[in-house]
Symmetry: C2
Subunit: 524 residues, 2 copies
Amino acid sequence: MRRRDLLRMIGATAGGAAMYQAMSSLGLATESPFRGTPTLHGAPRGASVLVLGAGIAGMVAAYELRQAGYQVQVLEYNRRPGGRNWSLRGGDSFTELGGFTQHCRFDDGLYLNPGPWRLPYHHRGILSYCKKLGVALEPFVQVNYNAYLHSADAFGGKPQRYREIHADYRGHVAELLAKSTQQGQLDQSVSKEDQERLLESLRQWGALDKRFVYTRGEASSNRRGYDRDAGGGLTAKPLPSTPLQLKDVLGSRLWQHLVDSEIYEFQTTLFQPVGGMGRIGEAFGRELKGVIRYGAKVTAILQDERGVSVTYEDADIPGATQTASAQWCVCTIPLSILGQLPLNVSPAMADAIAAVPYAASVKVGLQFKRRFWEEDEQIYGGMTYTDLPIANISYPSTGFHGGKGVLLGAYMWGKDAYEFTAMAPEERVRKAVEYGSRIHPQYREEFENGIAVGWHRSPFTLGCFAAWSDDMRERHYDNLCRLDGRIVLAGEHASYLPAWQEGAVTSALDAIERLHRRATGGIV
Amino acid sequence: MRRRDLLRMIGATAGGAAMYQAMSSLGLATESPFRGTPTLHGAPRGASVLVLGAGIAGMVAAYELRQAGYQVQVLEYNRRPGGRNWSLRGGDSFTELGGFTQHCRFDDGLYLNPGPWRLPYHHRGILSYCKKLGVALEPFVQVNYNAYLHSADAFGGKPQRYREIHADYRGHVAELLAKSTQQGQLDQSVSKEDQERLLESLRQWGALDKRFVYTRGEASSNRRGYDRDAGGGLTAKPLPSTPLQLKDVLGSRLWQHLVDSEIYEFQTTLFQPVGGMGRIGEAFGRELKGVIRYGAKVTAILQDERGVSVTYEDADIPGATQTASAQWCVCTIPLSILGQLPLNVSPAMADAIAAVPYAASVKVGLQFKRRFWEEDEQIYGGMTYTDLPIANISYPSTGFHGGKGVLLGAYMWGKDAYEFTAMAPEERVRKAVEYGSRIHPQYREEFENGIAVGWHRSPFTLGCFAAWSDDMRERHYDNLCRLDGRIVLAGEHASYLPAWQEGAVTSALDAIERLHRRATGGIV
């Protein structure tokens, strides 16, 4: 019996769920650490959990533990749910360490996601909560063949269209390998039959001509674009374009940006919540109304054999110290902050907390009077890459053909991010406009207002995300994640998916399953 | 002065439009046959135009000629505007040649676009009308790394994820070329310096390891996916997957499908109108309310020195023949039908009309009880390719995580399309379900209803689109497009963009500009 006959039979007799089980066992389904919505139940009578932080990890933990019957309370520093899941919209304010307060002046419907902004199709945990909580999703355009690759030192500083570098690099690679094949240089490693197939495939894949050359003509222009597009009537014969030479493509180093959209986390289909990433946090916040105490700054976490006691300052009652207690604690406070708090955990966990540095990152959102990238340059969504300090310009994946628009005008890491974080916010915005205008000269005329978040000055994270190295992970990761007495940590920092919300979700689910097992007397 | 300084100066002093002019002349803007909304004005007093067909070409012509001051009437065979721009929704009926009538039973909000379904970013004409008429656009997901490539004869008939074939083909190509480079086989054609750059780029681009080998590990899995995805907590270390061997990838011929999304017309960003492609035709129909006479079947077109006279049958008054007249005629009737009508044009145009065959195509829409492709297989939008007769399965790019869904269950060309067209519609649907279930076994359980359009049985087109060959174009294209007395043809068939709505738009604009020049006494 063939595999598909078997599957058909299973489907016909036992239904879709059984079929899916069978598909999994036959290797048609990918294995995911997200094993579906947890089915925790039977919390011990009166069992209570204190969750620290109302970011994604904290709210997933609180949501599921409540479902399982635990008494749950969440303490959150900010005045809103979500943590790094956050959209800045017109009317919002943000005060960073150092005292700068920015007031967002975006028009209605426009936003910047200072933190996460993309959801990959395989991040099944966070996607399942979007579904469960009714957060509508729309495609996020990552790669745009008509956006630019730019280097200040290549092609006289003139931005190249992604499609040109993409097609030309591939075309030249295909031509070189076709040549090697035809010259018999692959005879040792590839059978004659496969060489024939390889040549045929390279011609198609690389847009080579009949002689296996990548050159000006219909084949290459049908990838890289035309000097004049095809149209209708008597004046519309297309005009082919001329490929760049291999040495110019290689020398430009613009090929560095060709892999971005191939990476597992950036492959299509990517999503964004309609209205901003913050919609997820807001939806969790609604579910946990009354459970989350906002404006609560945790100052110490202490546990003993019977429970966990947390002291915090209520932003509405300055100076006074409050206490919250529970039998268990799920702590999602970023390590950068947690490491500075009194906390009685094992030396191994304390070492782990202290070991992991936080990455620097800056995002700048810029509002423009008109969507010139669409109107003038036919760029709808996607990203431009540049070696200027702004690194990226990302165009909105929604609201096409609307009036005003907000660009992600800089998305920076490393050294440049530190430099920008050190500037006053308005200076970051000014610089982003200045650099961006070298790619889009329309910036000067069309810019209206901007907002800039430097994550190392964010009082609720002191950095962007836990920057694990392989060595650190080897030494500290398991110690960080292990249930320590009555405390378990969760968050992107307690995952193999740093910086991703999916890390927060899967980490929280893993943590509460172990906590639940221990709370119900099982072995962890 | 550097290019960008010049541009900056122009922008600062003369504004965005001048800047764009300058960008064009510096080669930063692509040339398009769409030169913006036409600015025809000054129609001669009382000048009139009869437009045949209320598809995109006819409606663009009518819309613009009215703006220019012409008296315009449109005759349309169907009871709706749009022609091939068309969405079938629940409650719609469609009767094809041969007498079969199908009643669409899709749930609210679901649809099939039997004709065009995608809008490329560089189709500036049709996009500009979407903007002008307020037709909202959303991204159309063409390539989906998690959809399947399938061959009945490869990998035991088991569908492969796009990301696997995509990454493995590229990885092996990169490894082979890296080897050739390292063995000095490129010394004749590539400088030493460029060979170094090439190696560096191949490693990154092809996901090779440190020894330039494409093999199981973090690099390759970060493209092709993992056996077990990364997650959070203590049980979530990712497990790398094992690449396919080169010979298996080549032998499967699945590499044929890797170029589809690279082709100029299928590159990101692609769009679809929110609610179905038919929204464009419907919007034009609203603009031309009172101008279009529906249910009018043209039976003859005759011109003399003073004008054009068209006879037609009104579907509401069977048997009676009506006449409509005007000074000029823009005829957008497909050549497959036009060639069968009495029409007094030059022999050259008549030959052209007779010369071009129409392509066969079939689309099948299938409604399912649940979106199992999303729930079970994490496929959101995009397409699966197969060598089964159905050729493609396309997943909706919108309504993610909703309840029911409509798949494009077959999108066929050539021989298979002829065979399916010959079947009764319900048989086409049955076959599409049967073939599709070899890729998605859930079909059997979840299928609800379907609808199938075979374009050669469409009474208003008798085929899908004008299938020009290079030879035909050489001999006939200009003769087809030339103004013939008082008649000019327009439509995708009179363009270098057959089958695309942009061909219809640019063809119509080109045609009416020439018509207007002649009508106002200019030279054509």
